[in-house]
């Protein structure tokens, strides 16, 4: 077996798997040093995953399907496992015959993939076997029996008016138990989703989430756009993570082409990613304060956020950093005046932010509402595979910037804050620590800004190549997976926003808390509806 195409850190894992499962898998494909594909059959998947998770501390970061009936005659399922210590991805590819369109659920062993497996069932019409809750997830109950991500389903299909019951919620009964339905149109200026609280008095007994209200057919749409236009679509997956998603997409395409953005572009990308982290974290800190009626702190936070948005506009032409990302690098260079503005922002924000944090820390009535509220226990976070801010507040220090260096993060040391308490206060604290770290990183990047070109020409990407692109967005890890098609198009683009992973954790964190604390608990996760629903 030739393992020259595998990174030295990943090689022991691959060798171990090879020994253990010798002769039982069909092929080993190594398109990139840190991305290895095993072609296996369905019966091997539980064993592979169990072994990898137990022995190599792997995490199943995403599960998705691909309609490869044209070309391969089958559907493919992909199980992507991240090995943080070995800085690599192991991917299992499993064929599913169109004659028996079904697959075995892993959710019982790995609850973290619950929603993603149901998504496959809804979008591809592959029936789930042995799933504890095989109801619809990504398509609402009133949708007709269509499978939008199959190739024989046309993007522009006009579906008949929806009929029948929209959602079938589980009944929760008992003396004094009643239901509080909320949404999809909420009271604040936020995205739509439906929450059904089952309460006895004020404490919440059970929370049922119904999302996918803003499902826009995004993954399907990627298959119908020329690849360069996909960058703009990626910017619209989740507006607050415009740059992170666009960059993850660019990384995926660059990896299929075997290219890497030039050094200067990689640093500029990192600075933009940190700016995105800054404005969102500061806005969240303010919003958490608002939800416990400390409006003054929010006003200061919004003032700082506006300052960052204006700098974003000065650097990239857009307040949300849109238009900056492009394949092979970035679109705009920064002159001395723009760098001065950026430096000015960093030195302004330091004292301003410290004073904002002080304001919150000095407010005992605020802290009283945040402490021990909405606890997500580490064992629950582990089972649900919670990532990003929420994961770090509950004991899991996953950070792709450190473990899967992308953009220019290989050139800096990243300090990842981690706590085990898992309440609102600690999700706020993670944000505070990360703001400090972001400011430090921006300063480091700017002082070491290399010269050279801004972008390289990627040209037309060859067909039938696959690659992961990833970015640690401000909310958590973002994965894009692409399979290329002829004429510079995509046959499939899988988008995994951290929100999709973290939503079920909200239902756990709210238990035994009172309904009035839901807004602040929800805000402390601040998950993207659009990123989840796509």
């Amino acid at each position: 077996m030739n393992l020259s195409g595998v990174s030295t850190e990943l090689r022991p894992v691959v060798e171990d798997l090879n020994r253990r499962f010798e002769g039982r898998f069909n092929a080993l494909v190594t398109p990139r040093l840190n991305e290895v594909y095993f072609h296996v059959t369905m019966d091997l998947v539980p064993g592979f995953c169990a072994h990898l998770c137990r022995k190599w501390k792997a995490r199943l970061v995403t599960v998705f399907a691909d309609d490869a009936r044209i070309g391969h005659g089958v559907f493919h399922l992909y199980y992507a496992l991240a090995l943080d210590d070995a800085h690599g991805l192991l991917v299992l590819r499993v064929p599913v015959s169109p004659e028996t369109p079904q697959f075995v659920a892993l959710t019982n062993a790995i609850p973290a993939v619950n929603w993603q497996e149901r998504e496959i069932q809804d979008w591809f019409g592959l029936r789930l076997l042995g799933h504890p809750n095989p109801r619809r997830c990504a398509l609402h109950d009133d949708w007709p029996a269509v499978h939008p991500l199959r190739k024989d389903f046309d993007l522009n299909t006009v579906l008949p008016p929806f009929q029948g019951e929209r959602h079938k919620f589980r009944p929760v009964e008992g003396e004094g138990v009643f239901q509080v339905p909320v949404g999809p149109v909420h009271a604040g200026i936020i995205e739509p989703g439906h929450f059904l609280f089952s309460v006895a008095g004020e404490p919440v007994l059970y929370l049922q989430l119904r999302l996918f209200y803003v499902h826009k057919g995004t993954e399907k749409l990627f298959e119908h756009l020329p690849i360069p236009h996909g960058v703009r679509l990626a910017e619209s997956i989740s507006g607050d993570s415009s740059f992170a998603h666009a960059t993850a997409f660019c990384h995926a395409i660059e990896r299929t082409a075997g290219a890497q953005a030039p050094p200067r572009a990689r640093v500029l990308r990192s600075v933009c990613l940190e700016l995105e982290r800054l404005y969102n974290h500061i806005a969240d800190i303010g919003a958490i304060c608002t939800d416990v009626a400390f409006v003054t702190a929010n006003m200061h936070a919004m003032r700082l956020k506006e300052q960052i948005l204006r700098v974003n506009e000065h650097l990239t032409g857009n307040r949300l950093l849109r238009g900056m990302a492009c394949l092979g690098g970035v679109r705009f260079d920064w002159d001395a005046d723009q760098i001065r503005t950026l430096n000015g922002l960093v030195s302004d924000l330091r004292p301003e932010f410290d004073s904002l944090v002080q304001l919150v820390e000095d407010s005992s009535s605020t802290l009283d509402r945040l402490d021990t509220t909405g606890i997500l226990k580490p064992e629950v976070a582990r089972d649900l595979g919670v990532v990003g801010i929420a994961g770090r507040a509950s004991g899991f220090a996953y950070d792709l910037r450190r473990d899967f260096p992308h953009a220019a993060y290989d050139q800096v040391q990243i300090r990842v804050p981690v706590y085990r308490v898992g309440d609102v206060r600690h999700r706020l604290r993670v944000r505070v620590d990360e703001v400090h770290e972001s400011l430090r990183l921006i300063q480091t990047f700017v002082t070491k800004l290399p010269g050279g070109p801004l972008r390289i020409d990627i040209g037309e990407v060859p067909p039938d190549r696959v690659a992961f692109g990833y970015v640690e967005g401000w909310r958590g890890e973002i994965f894009h997976w692409v399979r290329t098609a002829p004429n510079n198009r995509l046959a499939r683009c899988r988008v995994k926003d951290p929100s999709l992973q973290n939503w079920p954790a909200l239902s756990e964190a709210i238990l035994d808390n009172i309904v009035p604390d839901f807004p602040v608990i929800n805000k402390s996760f601040n998950l993207s509806y659009s990123g989840t629903d796509r």
Partner: protein, 287 residues
């Protein structure tokens, strides 16, 4: 408490208050694009790079019809990178009362090599669009825009203006800017504009899109729950035209495909100044 007070006092007033000065805009900001229609000799490259189809060419019988749809534009500036006849301005206020006023169309005679030669007609929409906004102050400050909204709202509703925001499918980019209106920098409450929690309290619906199939019913119900007289403002490229998502199995596209719209605010997303300008236009219509 003393800490809160001293912080507020030491921060001072941050609200934009320059009644006679233009609003904040970086020279690098990308606002509405400007096309030199008479010197444009080949729109095909701009149309090819446009991710949303905002610039489109249609050839027929030695003539080429070129359209630019501001409602679809995401202000990415890719067309300006490839075509010298296009320039990105920093102007962000481009709201209009009629959808077709955001569309500019021109006709050219076609050369054999595929370029176009001579402007035959148009651009009609562009002129109309200028007409639509000419009655309003351009490059005006937030302060004076807000004051005008206040006085017009007083005339229309006899009181302040209450807005219900409805996300009918947006990517949450527009929401970031709409939330920004409440920040101390823009502070629209000083003009008597409030965001309210229920459509039953609202005079105006601020709707972002594209309207998804799953939000269609909710949007209709929200509209029905809003007492008359009511106004609807479609926000952002997606709300105005469906944007990059357009119409597909999961989306109905623009807001006006589901409920009647009074004003369209282009942008991706429109900034707070552009939002205020659009709200003003909506109220002007009602007077």
């Amino acid at each position: 408490m003393p800490g809160i007070l001293s912080k507020s006092l030491s921060t001072g007033i941050v609200t934009t208050r320059y009644p006679d000065a233009p609003a904040h805009a970086s020279p690098h900001a990308r606002g509405r694009l400007e096309i030199d229609w008479s010197k444009w000799n080949d729109a095909r490259s701009a149309a090819a790079v446009c991710p949303t189809g905002a610039i489109a060419c249609h050839d027929a019988a030695q003539a080429r019809t070129v359209t630019f749809d501001l409602a679809k534009c995401v202000f990415c500036g890719l067309c300006a990178d490839t075509d010298k006849a296009i320039r990105m301005s920093t102007v962000c206020e481009c709201a209009a009362r009629h959808r077709n006023r955001l569309v500019s169309t021109a006709q050219y005679s076609l050369n054999e090599d595929g370029t176009h030669r001579r402007l035959i007609a148009g651009p009609d929409g562009a002129t109309a669009m200028r007409g639509a906004v000419s009655s309003l102050p351009r490059n005006d400050s937030i302060e004076s825009l807000g004051r005008q909204i206040q006085s017009r709202a007083a005339r229309l509703f006899g009181r302040s203006l209450h807005i219900r925001e409805v996300d009918a499918g947006s990517c949450n980019g527009c929401e970031i800017e709409i939330v920004g209106l409440n920040s101390p920098v823009y502070d629209i409450e000083r003009f008597g504009i409030h965001f309210v929690a229920s459509p039953r309290h609202a005079d105006l619906l601020l709707v972002t899109g594209p309207v998804t199939r799953n939000m269609e019913l909710a949007l209709k119900k929200t509209y029905d729950a809003t007492p008359e007289p009511r106004l609807v403002v479609a926000v952002g490229a997606c709300g105005c035209s469906g944007g990059i998502f357009g119409v597909n199995y999961a989306t109905r596209g623009p807001v006006d495909s589901v409920i009647p719209v009074d004003v369209y605010i282009p942008g991706c997303p429109p900034n707070p100044q552009a939002l205020l300008h659009g709200i003003l236009l909506a109220i002007d219509r009602g007077v």
